[in-house]
Symmetry: C2
Subunit: 214 residues, 2 copies
């Protein structure tokens, strides 16, 4: 089965700009992409396509046999064009979920329904399995996980949710780095953060505060 | 198998006080408890004990055959006393994870390891399976999910993580209510929030903002 991984390097992860420089953010985004590609390469997925907007970067990819398609349009347009010609089941998976595990990917793509949505926080869709991609339209942004389930119903397709914490952790804000540093010690992206001086600070007394400091 | 559900009603969910009154917060905490009890009652768990601090509330529980043990000490002391006499496997599960599903509970308690930790955001432990509870000490607060795994290693027990988004969503802050209102339409707690006038506001234009307003 094929996976499509949308990726934008240029000015990546702008909500981290108070903690990371532009160059660090772009490098960090690439490390997260490598973590997702590594998980895919250890799963039952046997073909990977990166759907990239912007400049080239293939020399920095750690996983071989990964095809790159360039499309400078916004995410939904680029993806809907990419899936329109796909007649086999595919997995669309975000490049900023570095904690994703091969086991969770396999569980998701072995489900029986036509459409499976793996939610992120705040209603995002962090991974989307489509059995009949050419008959579906994606709609990211907003509460997309509900929109994708509703789209499945409109297309007369069966659907379900995939329940994975490690897939739900998309790294957008400084608080999200807490999850990566707690759970991601074997990832490229957490090692990169550690290398440039970020670390966790847990205040046992306050009972609730765990934060990332540099 | 038995489940223990710690619960504190008095001044519950203080970080929601900007949005909910004290009475509403206490009522909301009880509705979340009822959601967790309902999920447990539909799972392979066949005995439920609420470990409560503070005043009585049993008349408001929606799930029958639930035993209540009162203990006014702090969470770790109360739990460590409660598990010291348990010689059968148990599940300790938090009362503020109303999206938890019976399937996820079953998957967790059917694992082969001695200790299984289901993480919450920021390193919390939202559910903890213990095969040999009388030989274990819990340590909540801080990055407890890592501490519980380390404790397992020290006790010479096998251990693992349970990967569930719906178990990871503990409701502490206003932002957490977003998850509940998106995914929880069949829960007592989301219906209660809707009844008192809370609803989601999604700004499709900004691409990222989904918030709860009253």
């Amino acid at each position: 089965m094929k996976a499509i991984v949308p990726f934008r390097r240029r000015d990546a992860k702008s909500r981290l700009k108070h903690l990371l420089t532009l160059e660090e953010r772009e490098r960090f985004a690439l490390m997260m992409l490598n973590d997702v590609l590594t998980a895919l390469s250890k799963s039952a997925i046997d073909e990977i396509e990166i759907l990239a907007t912007g400049d080239g970067f293939t020399e920095e990819l750690k996983v071989e046999h990964t095809e790159v398609r360039y499309d400078d349009r916004e995410l939904n347009d680029a993806l809907n064009t990419a899936i329109a010609s796909q007649n086999q089941p595919i997995l669309i998976i975000m490049a900023d979920i570095p904690l994703v595990t091969p086991a969770s990917i396999n569980e998701m793509i072995r489900r029986k329904e036509d459409v499976i949505v793996s939610p992120g926080r705040k209603g995002g869709t962090n991974a989307l399995f489509l059995r009949k991609p050419s008959r579906f339209y994606v709609s990211y942004y907003g509460i997309s996980c509900i929109e994708h389930l509703e789209m499945a119903v409109r297309c007369d397709m069966s659907c379900g949710l995939h329940d994975s914490f490690f897939m739900s952790v998309d790294i957008d804000e400084v608080d999200d780095l807490v999850e990566l540093l707690i759970h991601g010690k074997d990832t490229y992206s957490a090692r990169y953060l550690t290398d440039i001086g970020l670390h966790l600070h847990a205040d046992k007394e306050s009972k609730t505060r765990v934060e990332v400091i540099r």
